[in-house]
Subunit: 329 residues, 2 copies
């Protein structure tokens, strides 16, 4: 089976389960809740989850459900983050709060948050009590840490200087935790061996850090249409990405001044944003790519510490780590 | 032991567990999340949960934790509802989004939503796999239905005519479900007997409907200081309470016109609101009290179908149903 077939089978099955669960008779609420799933998305977290389960011989039906749970959870965070960050475009479409208003968007996120737990519960139903408790522990811990990461991200917008260490801590919480939880939950479906589950958690965590660094890079270099959201929005919002942090540290005084003047300025013109982006790229692009590759390699190293029961799944997980760094959107 | 002692012991123990769990090192986020717990609140849902558990001989430590879980969940819904309804005062204090801004209030609600699941997981840890799955099923179902109820409540604001049946369906979802889930979870801690758990669920459901009818009455007749929020805000927001529905149905043409003109008018003066409140009270107050008492009696009837293992708990549950209707805030 080719990677493409392997991944497509997973995505189709996960999507079917999402569609089945995100249905109800309060029309507007369910439309707003289901909207972003129709708009695309890579389903990276379910792919990691199902392949992690496959790697250790887990049941596919349980893995599809747990995959749907993490994707639904991820989508809830996107809807709420877009309100908080005042983002108006996502996946090439207006964000949920732009289309339905902030109250309905808050509610749609809340519904998906609860639905994610409903689906996870069904995924682990009938397994041992320890496994069910562990699954909910991984899931709840992830959401708590993600919320903390989002709070830090917002706090950083109001600070001019943030260290690389603080940035890494923040993206570990905000982004990498859910990748880590996805891989760990996949492992947990197959085994209660803590070492193997922990190795998968490490794989997901390092892949997640690489993913966010690349996301921050793409916010500066990607094609706007391909990305599905405005480039430079990170600069306008004053996001302290690894590229911004490195550039502020390395740039000459006049360049540094330009960066700090434009960063977080909601009225900055496209030309100003573009000029600042060029400065940042000059000092940071290579550095950020190198960092992302380091984390990607750590992720792959983690996989090597596990005895694979399914070679195809192991190769798929390696491919996903590499894809994370190579992707252009 | 007096009722007061019985209830105080529960409230103190539940509060201690809430305090323990709602702690973390991202200062502003945890301050915003913990704020409403300090502002008071009756802890009615934990009281129902722990007494329901007592009634069938459940373990107190598990019940305290599950009680904390439902109170934390309830508080998440309050924070998000206040944003959606643009309410600025709660429990005599500025609402969370007024104090910390909408983004932080959304995030605090999300954190509490996840924390509620974390606490519930700890409450049922080590029980049977069926029990854990059932507990999460009750909990997730409640949140999903609560979200649907809030969506209906918002939709009703934009409609001039809503039937009493639609109102009862809406408050069953928005308010009564969590009372029902609280009683059922309490029962589940003690037993897997489905009939007993279902009887408790019915007790909570009917108590919850009575609770919301009284809440709607208090929004018209309560002392503003005692209530902790502005009276008449329901009229200003255009809420279709049972009192409004009944009054629109029964009032004379000119009175009906006055009601419809003022209902949902954000610029209505205090005098206009007060005049409309008087009309509504004239036609609806007795009717609404009678309805609330009917549901209160149904709740108490449900209790009688269970064989009590703890007389004090049974009496406490009866008292809580009666208190729900008698309360003045």
């Amino acid at each position: 089976m080719s990677f493409e077939d392997y991944f497509n089978t997973i995505v189709d099955n996960v999507n079917k389960r999402i569609e089945k669960y995100i249905k109800g008779n309060v029309k507007e609420l369910y439309e707003a809740s289901y909207y972003l799933f129709k708009a695309g998305g890579k389903r990276l977290r379910p792919l990691i989850l199902v392949a992690s389960s496959d790697l250790l011989g887990g049941e596919r039906e349980r893995a599809y459900l747990a995959g749907a749970a993490v994707e639904v959870l991820h989508t809830f965070t996107l809807i709420h983050d877009d309100i908080m960050d005042e983002d108006t475009t996502r996946r090439g479409m207006p964000t949920v709060h732009v289309k339905w208003g902030i109250p309905m968007a808050i509610l749609a996120g809340d519904l998906l948050h609860a639905k994610a737990f409903e689906i996870l519960n069904d995924s682990f139903k009938g397994t041992s009590n320890n496994k069910i408790s562990k699954a909910f522990e991984i899931f709840t811990k992830a959401i708590i840490i993600i919320s903390e990461g989002q709070a830090l991200d917002m706090q950083f917008e109001d600070r001019s200087i943030v260290s690389e260490e603080e940035y890494l801590d923040m993206i570990t919480r905000k982004t990498a935790m859910l990748f880590s939880a996805s891989a760990a939950l996949g492992g947990l479906i197959a085994t209660e061996n803590e070492k193997e589950v922990e190795a998968l958690a490490q794989y997901g965590l390092n892949l997640g850090i690489a993913f966010q660094i690349i996301d921050d890079i793409l916010g500066l270099v990607a094609d706007e249409k391909e990305l599905g959201k405005p480039v430079y929005s990170d600069i306008r919002e004053g996001k302290k990405t690894i590229l911004v942090i490195k550039a502020i540290k390395e740039a000459k005084e006049d360049e540094k001044e330009k960066i700090l003047k434009t960063l977080g300025n909601k009225n900055a013109t496209k030309d100003e944003l573009s000029a600042v982006a060029e400065i940042i790229k000059k000092y940071s692009l290579e550095y950020a790519y190198t960092k992302a590759e380091e984390y990607m390699k750590k992720a792959i190293d983690s996989l090597e510490s596990i005895s694979w029961k399914n070679n195809e799944a192991g190769k798929a997980l390696k491919y996903l780590a590499e894809f994370t760094v190579k992707r252009r959107k």
